[in-house]
Amino acid sequence: MGIGKSITNKINQTLKRSRNSSRSSVIIVAVVLVVLMFYLALSSEVFLSYGNLFNLFRSTSIYGVIAIGMTFVILTGGIDLSVGSVVGLTSILTTMMIKNGMPLFLSIVIAMAAAVTVGILNGIIIHFGKVPPFIATLGSMTVVRGMIKLISDAKMITGLPKEFSDFALKASLGLPNLFWIWLLVILVSWFILTRTIYGRNVYAIGSNEESARLSGISISRNIVYVYATSAFLSGLAGIMLASRLASGIPTAGSGYELDAIAATVVGGTALTGAKGGVLGTFLGSILLATIRNGGVLLGINPFILEVIIGLLIVVAVIAQRGSK
């Protein structure tokens, strides 16, 4: 396990420099991931093949991007259940507009604006309406999904220009384009959370909202920012998904909120807020995807796999509490 150890050391060093991520949780996830990858590499010839890893990273990227937004929300002690519906929203809006001859770029901008609007409204309802985040976003999740079906008449949108669908299929420098987007999102988010005032405010609010208020931090503005960030990234994921499926699907993104929450929590971000960060979420996303992928490769009964993933989420949280 010499390599495994040196990798852990390396991760450890990197994390020492990133201040707010809870180091021990991230190390646990990293170690589990490395061990699992070793095991899969030894027991399946396909696992380490370029084709398999390419697919693995490409499919993880979409919910990975959502999970990053979810991390912002959870760090403030909130939750965003509307992300899956926002994925559906931008996927339908973008494809409809392209189909109707609107330029690609403009379609994306308008769809993203709609997504961010949903996020801003979430934030306003939560902060000014004093509605618990769980309820507020459960509501917007349902409302948005209904609106998607109204707009699209619950029909799939296909026959998109090749340039749109090719983006998700293709790679740059050997890595899937979608994965590059995810990496960029992670990098920017990591920078925002650890190095900017906005990021520091996210942690402060998650740690103690009243202390934050009395320290002059605007709670309303930051809560709105956080839900807007989450919706922005979900919207981005929706466009990535539409490109990958080469179509707009009214039910696209259903259930993604749970995958995103699972990845965030497995990655060590505490639901109570202020503890965790995007590096953990990155590893958590990869870990969950690797388990699914490995299960398929090893021919494990998919139902059993589901049971394993469910247990893993719970065990991960218990392990992190123990390591405190």
Binding site: R19, N20, R195, T196, I197, Y198, R200, Y203, A204, G206, S207, N208, E210, S211, A212, R213, L214, S215, G216, I217, S218, G273, A274, K275
Partner: protein, 505 residues
């Protein structure tokens, strides 16, 4: 008097955590019918000791034994400790705030008939215990609606009803007013007279001399001495605790008072306070004294912008200010150290560095991007200046002792270079050593030309430190007393303040 019987004896107790020896050979004994004080600076090992006795921590193998009524016992968890007759009331009462008093009393063992809860008997039994201890609480009220003091008394009564023999009180008066403290003390005396042994932990030496029969002193995890309270004085105890004698703690060398910095005119808020007028001058400590619930914290919150007053004016350096939210107060150079650092001051899950810098990011950033170098510089500077005891400023704040946490909050406000510092109960839950350091810090702030508005419900502190004291009672201004009108330690003067604060003119 009943013959004193030994209830609890601890011999040569050791407790190590990875890298730290928290307790190094502690001896301790409690007799029936005595109140036994446990004192020591923060970090002396009091809490660790209590947790070992209560079975929260496992003692080291090489320790001597713990004996309950002369029988050696092995305590693995708090439940077992309770069954042996050991009970503890912690600083923040841990009960179900949304349930009734009676429900809390019987939590987990509600009386029932065939699975249906017998509310009548639960209520009856609760009332009986409350009456026996002369506690004025209705068993059907919701616990969270009661004052902290009453909640604490309910916790004590519950402990008593569980046949507790030794009761441990850890800083029970930290959040109580003077009045409530008196009521608590008479309750503790009643328990003592019923033959219980009381272990009493407090930073307030006055309380210890008022209440206890013997005092045991810990220092740095070791046992120093046990003395009879009547045979020693405060100075001697402080000497035992810190290993050096503390000269007059409150004797600050203050600069002469300068021009008026803050003027408050007829500030009112319906049903909270009315018609408050005073001014604070440069280089002075302006004291505000009142009982808990007198509106004193609301008054200063309104000046700072954390609450909205209905009418009145506030002038800072001669020009009117109207702070609508805390950010307004902060940007005008007002600092507000709240009374409850855990819930309204600190970010416990964040590092000391993040806490220290929380107000100053704008100064140390460009385009919203924070300079790590400046962050670290500022935090380290305050660690050195305030002598914050922590291995690194990257340490999570919740791992620090009360005194050091208070220094972190102070660092936060001092980082912002506030000209007017409002400090609400600056030394609650802070040990003597850190207290002296905080007082010295206030002194140096005055010399830097800053002004301090200090609220304290601890009379010796406010009498010793303040130049003038505004007394409030139920939101009404009872008067401003000048320093030359009273002297510290004078019993009659103290009585005068308490009468004023109680609304008796």
């Amino acid at each position: 008097m009943v013959k004193e019987k030994e209830l609890l004896r601890v011999e040569d107790l050791h407790k190590s955590f990875p890298g730290v020896k928290a307790l190094k050979g502690i001896n301790f004994q409690v007799l029936s019918g005595e109140v036994h004080a446990l004192v020591g600076e923060n970090g002396a090992g009091k809490s660790t000791f209590i947790k070992c006795v209560m079975g929260v921590y496992k003692k080291d193998a090489r320790s001597g034994g713990i004996f309950v009524e002369n029988k050696e016992v092995d305590i693995h968890n708090p439940d077992q400790a309770m069954k042996l007759g050991l009970g503890a009331v912690y600083q923040d009462v841990m009960m179900a705030r949304h349930l009734t008093v009676a429900e809390n009393f019987f939590l987990g063992k509600l009386p029932h008939k065939a699975g249906i809860i017998d509310w009548r008997s639960a209520k009856k039994n609760t009332d009986k215990v409350l009456k026996e201890l002369e506690i004025d609480v209705d068993s059907s009220s919701i616990l969270g609606d009661l004052s902290i003091a009453k909640q604490e008394m309910v916790a004590i009564a519950k402990m008593y009803s569980n046949n507790c023999k030794v009761a441990i009180f850890d800083e029970p008066t930290a959040l109580l007013s003077t009045e409530e403290t008196d009521i608590l003390f008479s309750l503790i005396r009643r328990l003592r007279d019923k033959g219980m042994g009381i272990i009493y932990i407090s930073h307030r030496l006055e309380e210890i001399f008022e209440l206890t029969d013997r005092i045991t002193v810990f220092k740095d995890g070791t046992y120093v001495d046990t003395v009879r309270t009547e045979e020693v004085d405060e100075d001697r105890i402080i000497e035992l605790m810190v290993g050096r004698s503390v000269e007059d703690m409150y004797g600050l060398n203050k600069p002469s008072r300068g021009e008026t910095v803050l003027e408050v005119r007829n500030l009112s808020k319906k049903d909270v306070f009315e018609d408050i007028s005073f001014d604070v001058r440069k280089g002075e400590i302006f004291g505000m004294f009142g009982l808990v619930g007198s509106g004193r914290s609301d008054i200063v919150s309104s000046i700072f912008g954390a609450e909205k007053p209905d009418s009145g004016t506030v002038l800072l350096n001669g020009s009117e200010i109207n702070c609508k939210h805390p950010g307004d107060g902060i940007s005008r150079g007002i600092g507000f150290l709240t009374e409850d650092r855990k819930h309204t001051g600190l970010f416990m899950e964040l590092s000391c560095r993040d806490n220290t810098n929380a107000l100053s990011y704008r100064k140390m950033s460009r385009f919203g991007v924070i300079s790590r170098k400046k962050e670290a510089q500022n935090a380290d500077a305050f660690r050195d200046k305030l002598r914050i005891k922590t291995p690194s400023m990257g340490q999570l704040t919740k791992n620090l002792s009360g005194g050091n946490q208070q220094k972190v909050v102070l660092s936060k406000w001092l980082s912002n270079d506030s000209d007017l510092l409002i400090i609400d109960e600056p030394t609650v839950g802070v040990d003597v050593g850190a207290k002296v350091e905080i007082y010295k810090l206030l002194e140096s702030l005055l010399h830097q030309g800053k002004s301090i508005l200090m609220i304290s419900s601890y009379l010796p502190e406010v009498m010793g430190l303040a130049d003038r004291i505004l007394v409030v009672s139920e939101g009404r201004q009872m008067g401003i007393v000048e320093k030359n009108a009273y002297s510290l330690g004078n019993f009659d003067d103290e009585q005068k303040f308490i009468k004023l604060a109680s609304g008796i003119v």
